[in-house]
Amino acid sequence: MLQSFVDGLLVGSILSLGAIGLTMVMHMLRFANFSHAELLSIGAYAALVFDGLFAALAPVLTVKLAPLSVTAALALAFLVSMGVTAVSAVAIDRLVFRRIRARGEELSMVFASFGVALIVRSVIGLTFGLHPQLYSREIVFAIVVSRDPLLLIKPDQVAVLVAAVAIMGVLHLVLSRTTFGFALRAVAENPQLAQVNGVNLRRMIASVWLIGGALAAAAGVFYAINNQMSPVMGRDLVLPIFAATIVGGIGSIYGALLGGFVVGLASSFALMLLPSGYSPAVPFLIIIAVLVLRPHGLFGEARA
């Protein structure tokens, strides 16, 4: 029970980071971006590339940050990967979504996002191989925190959870305390009115992609540290992340944050009731439950 709770929190923090970026894009650009989860894959693999690069360039960096399995090189690569993924997100928008948006076809963007997801996923598969990969081959033993109830935690997991919560804290400060944060919320509320007040819409859209991409990269790297990375990780994560946005209410950043934890915990507890083979279907059950009980989610507002 306790173990499920802790595991659920960890998965939840990763889903939250993914869902925040997705819900921002859905709120501002009004389309369900099915390629968002591929940004997690881009982030995870970008960190893999730069981890190898930094380790080769400066062998000093291969020291482990004990007691974690994470090396200094990976920590650096993580930061670089956030930047790379943020830029990729903007690039994908410029190449595909912005052109379709310019014609005013919102729903066509949903089709296009599936196409983008297929292309990104397959290119990653062709480049890095279809097999799952890890940053470190070493086995890190879990620490027995308590025997009754049984609770096993790896140091890496604690680090991931702390880092995820820290990133969310920074985001909260930016959104609630800076002019940029106000401008962002204004654009999401009413793009025309925001522009009248001197907010640059194009720049704001680019910032949403940058933030969403950076958060997705963090989620992707954390997921890869916690589990493993594979080209199909985006396919596996897209539904839980969407479920998190729906639980929170599409467009609500704090809703997505909470929604991620709700989905993570619910999936973790569901494994106590259902055979593990059914776990991919759990997010769908959560979506259905939310649509029946509270269609606009925890913090969402009705908007056509």
Partner: protein, 317 residues
């Protein structure tokens, strides 16, 4: 010669089945503006239900209803329609993203269910115990396949004519009215969510018909047949052909299916051995590029929708 002939029969049958599914999607997307992210769920529901209802009793598997084939097929259509109704009731009154996400989720959950529920669907091994109707009576496989092709083509024609009638009817006009301007339609006293639900269920039943035919043709269905890639293929067929145009949908189905099978054949024949593992990835990139490329450069498809003013007395095709 016989080999070529039997391949042509085989290819045309599968392409026609997919064309039926594409026509169903055209009703959703082309005529009503509904985004169905889980075509394969309704296709799969039709296939699975038809085979389970029509199968002879098997140990360790539910069913053994051994219904005569037309009844089993009707059951398949019913299950597909019921699933669409359940998803539609929950999502069609919300903003459009919800339908896209819920249908996509339905497809994931459906594949997951049939893969795991051994008692229901035979799990990963698929449904056993179904035999093609009249297969033993006909005797010759090629003759049976040809007969089945004739049946499929006539059902394709029937669906085509039914949808053409539907689209030209006041109901079809209402669908386009809601797609173009929901507020205006509402101001005329129409109920968009109810009309959308009717269109959504109808389209899903047509996809279920395609699935039922597909399952019957192979006399087998397994989780491998209900993977998300089928949804993407059917979308590509509609987008290439031209959303909103039924001739385009049929043309797109044949073109994309030809391109898919040809690329698969060429890759398996000519790609180096070490690349064989990745032929799937290459085909996915092709289908993704077709979708994105068409949306960027020719969003109206090869045969665009002909928009007409209803009062002029002309009718859309």
């Amino acid at each position: 010669m016989m080999g070529v002939l039997s391949y042509v029969v085989f290819f045309t049958t599968v392409a026609s089945i997919l064309a039926i599914a594409t026509l169903g999607l055209n009703l959703h997307w082309g005529n009503t503006g509904l985004f169905n992210g889980g075509v394969v769920a309704f296709f799969g529901a039709g296939a699975y239900a038809t085979l389970i209802l029509g199968a002879a009793p098997q140990p360790g598997q539910m069913g053994g209803f051994a219904l005569v084939w037309p009844l089993a097929l009707m059951g398949g259509l019913g299950v597909a329609g019921l699933m669409a109704w359940a998803v539609g009731v929950l999502t069609l009154r919300l903003r459009h993203d919800y339908l896209a996400i819920a249908t996509f989720g339905a497809a994931v959950a459906f594949e997951n269910l049939v893969r795991n529920a051994q008692w229901l669907s035979g799990g990963a091994q698929g449904v056993r115990g179904f035999s093609r109707p009249l297969y033993a009576a006909v005797g010759d496989p090629l003759l049976w396949n040809t007969g089945f092709l004739v049946l499929t083509l006539s059902l394709l024609a029937a669906v085509y004519l039914f949808l053409r009638r539907l689209v030209r009817s006041p109901f079809g006009r209402l669908l386009r009215a809601i797609r173009e301007d929901e507020t205006a339609a509402r101001s005329l006293g129409k109920r968009p969510s109810r009309v959308r639900l009717a269109a959504f269920v109808t389209g899903a039943v047509i996809m279920g018909l395609a699935g039922g035919l597909y399952g019957t043709f192979y006399a087998f269905v397994s989780p491998q047949d209900v993977l998300p890639v089928l949804t993407f293929q059917i979308w590509a067929m509609l987008i290439v052909g031209g959303a909103g145009n039924m001739r385009g949908a049929v043309l797109g189905a044949f073109l994309i299916w030809a391109a898919w099978t040809a690329s698969g054949f060429l890759l398996s024949r000519f790609a180096p051995v070490e690349w064989q593992l990745y032929t799937g990835s290459i085909q996915f990139i092709l289908i993704g590029s077709v979708i994105v490329g068409m949306l960027l450069w020719r969003p109206q498809g090869l045969i665009p929708e002909r928009l007409v003013v209803s009062q002029s007395g002309r009718t859309p095709t």
